[in-house]
């Protein structure tokens, strides 16, 4: 049995302001084994990034509130840790790659300095300055940037190169868990292919577990072992890559998502099968199944609270219609 690294149990997060309460994440549970890659797929506003920020405890102060649930990392509840202990984990054990490499680097520090910062803060081995610099060179080389460029500033790099710098920063301390939030969305396809290939190689070499957040099912198919489909703050379907991509029975939202992407094997100028309507307003979610207003198969029973239905030992979907034996 593979060892569990991260376990999220019944997590709920809301954003509270004076005017309204946004229910961003509504009771999600998932687990991740060591060395495994989980893809979280969903559209804008589904709660993907909020989930990531909660794991790292980076939610905006006062506004972002964890309603319930636990985030167990190596058996320890991160949500209960004092801030000081959490700082030791962040960047060292768990690190994150943000979507936009243009804004996640500090424009007034050299990239070498920014990579060294994480190393200096988590310097348990008491490495000397020279040893730290040597490590910076090493990680830059690892992501394919000549170490001679470590004195350059972010604006001297292109988008793809900046994302490599961000990856180097995230991997400098060899974390056990890497959370990548739309790491290639801002990049062109050919650069995206380079970055994905690099991430795959490094992950395999360093045996890092990864949570990959994306809206691109193509990226998921190439990178992940397991997939969770998120909609309106809930995980509506979970399973292995094969369960989600080739399995016979799916949550209607997953079906809609697959129907919406233009497929290369289709003749050109054929109509797609989109999902009607829009995501529900997260300040005012529908009762029962969140997908009810857009679902082509909606019925009375959908208004009740939905439970996860096991379709196979690895595959669950939150839709009562799948209870019937097909």
């Amino acid at each position: 049995m593979a060892e569990t690294l991260l376990e999220v149990k019944d997590l709920a997060v809301k954003y509270k302001t004076d005017l309204e309460t946004v229910f961003a994440v509504n009771g999600i549970s998932f687990s991740l084994n060591k060395g495994e890659t989980l893809g979280i797929v969903g559209e804008t506003g589904a709660g993907k990034t909020t989930t990531a920020l909660t794991i790292l405890r980076l939610l905006p102060e006062r506004v972002g509130v964890v309603g319930k649930g636990q985030v167990l990392f190596e058996g320890e509840d991160l949500l209960a840790l004092p801030e000081h202990d959490m700082m030791k984990k962040r960047g060292d054990k768990i690190s994150m790659i943000f979507q936009d490499p243009m804004t996640s680097l500090n424009p007034v520090h050299t990239i070498g300095g920014q990579i060294a910062e994480a190393l200096r803060l988590h310097n348990e081995k008491n490495r000397t300055r020279e040893q730290l610099e040597a490590r910076v060179d090493e990680v830059l080389e690892m992501v394919g940037i000549p170490p001679s460029r470590k004195g350059d500033y972010p604006h001297q790099f292109s988008g793809g190169m900046k994302q490599r710098v961000v990856i180097a920063m995230a991997l400098a301390c060899e974390p056990d868990l890497l959370i990548a939030d739309e790491p290639t969305t801002a990049l062109d396809v050919t650069i995206q292919a380079q970055v994905l290939l690099l991430m795959r190689e490094l992950r395999d070499r360093l045996q890092t577990a990864m949570i990959l957040i994306t809206h691109d099912l193509g990226v998921v198919a190439q990178m992940c072992d397991r997939v969770a489909v998120m909609y309106a703050g809930e995980l509506v379907e979970k399973g292995t890559l094969a369960d989600i991509f080739t399995g016979a029975r799916h949550h209607p939202y997953t079906q809609g998502l697959f129907g919406s992407i233009p497929k290369l094997e289709d003749e050109s100028k054929t109509l797609l099968h989109p999902i009607d309507g829009l995501m529900p307003d997260p300040t005012d979610l529908p009762e029962g199944c969140r997908f009810l207003p857009r679902c082509p198969h909606a019925c009375e029973k959908c208004k009740e609270k939905q439970e996860d239905i096991a379709l196979s030992p690895t595959h669950t979907a939150r839709c009562h219609m799948l209870e019937r034996k097909v």
Partner: protein
């Protein structure tokens, strides 16, 4: 000419921008022909000049050189008044539905604006009727007529942009990345809408995008651009089945396919990054990243040659690659 006359044609269209460092070749010698009721898809990575091409065709940016023929008439020679008339027949849908509509106007005001400006109807009441009809056509609920853009999501805003373009009863629409800012489920709704409108009103599109699966889906013909130049052009299915230019091949192989059987296929990643479009010099602009490059690729410009009647490619080794 009759039936074989293209609705829109560009001949050696060029747009150079003057910069401190030299001349930026945004659009360099582009010749295209788009037949009525057809869609030409333009793909390329950021900075390849595809948006500049779209805007230059509508003369939102004045071309440096070359001709733009709409039904055989060279519109680069038109004066302001003539161009104003012409723009009723040629419209554009912009990429970002957040910045391309006026936040201080209501939905119906935005859609009616062009019609009122061009005095298309004798009374305002007629214009409002037409607005209601257009909202219906693009799938906007009547109750949103008095809503403001900030109350709407990206998909609905893009529908406003489409309704505004349709209000002129155009024959030709430049769609500049109309779905790039949208989520997949909304993107599919808008793509279907554009296809349906094309069938219903006999529209002709120039469809600009960086998304290869989208371009395959909507186009009859596809042009691949690299640093201001067309490197390959072919019917959509042919281009995907039989790409000949090394850049097109790399581009197609880089698409992440949502199919797990494709997971372990080899990806042809191309080395390096796009070079600067400022003073690009002679020779093939892709040569620096190309694994098939020869000395002669850099000695002279590589012309676009026909591999078959409809398949054009600008590569000295197109036959062997």
């Amino acid at each position: 000419m009759g039936a074989s006359q293209p609705l829109l044609e560009t001949r050696n269209l060029k747009k150079y921008f003057n910069t401190a460092a030299g001349k930026l070749h945004a659009v360099d010698d582009i010749s295209v022909r788009i037949m009525r009721r057809e869609t030409l898809g333009v793909v390329g990575e950021s900075g390849c000049g595809k948006s500049t091409l779209g805007r230059t065709i509508l003369r939102l940016i004045e071309p440096t050189d070359g001709a733009i023929l709409f039904k055989g008439e060279d519109i680069t020679r038109l004066k302001a008044a003539g161009m104003r008339e012409m723009r009723m027949r040629m419209q554009i849908i912009f990429q970002d539905p957040y910045s391309s509509i006026n936040p201080r106007m209501s939905v119906s005001e935005i859609i009616a604006e062009y019609m009122l400006f061009h005095k298309m109807y004798r009374t305002r009441a007629e214009a409002w009727n037409r607005t209601a009809q257009l909202m219906n056509t693009v799938g906007l609920a009547r109750r949103l007529a008095n809503a403001y853009p900030h109350e709407l999501d990206g998909g609905r805003r893009q529908r406003i942009g489409i309704a505004r373009a349709l209000s002129m009863n155009p024959e030709f629409i430049v769609c500049d990345e109309p779905v790039s800012a949208l989520d997949v489920s909304i993107q599919a709704q808008i793509l279907n809408l554009l296809l349906e409108l094309q069938r219903e009103f006999g529209l002709t599109y120039l469809f600009i995008t960086h998304d290869l699966s989208v371009v395959k889906h909507i186009s009859d013909e596809i042009m691949v651009m690299y640093l201001g130049q067309c490197v390959e052009q072919a019917p959509a299915d042919e281009l995907f089945a039989n790409p000949r230019h090394p850049y097109t091949k790399a581009l197609l192989s880089a698409i992440p396919v949502p199919d797990i059987s494709m997971r372990d296929r080899e990806i042809v990643t191309i080395r390096g990054e796009v070079k600067s479009p400022i003073n690009p010099g002679i020779g093939c602009r892709f040569a620096g990243r190309c694994e098939y490059a020869l000395d002669r690729c850099l000695q002279a410009d590589v012309p676009l040659v026909g591999l078959s009647e409809k398949h054009l490619c600008a590569c000295v080794r197109a036959g062997e690659v």
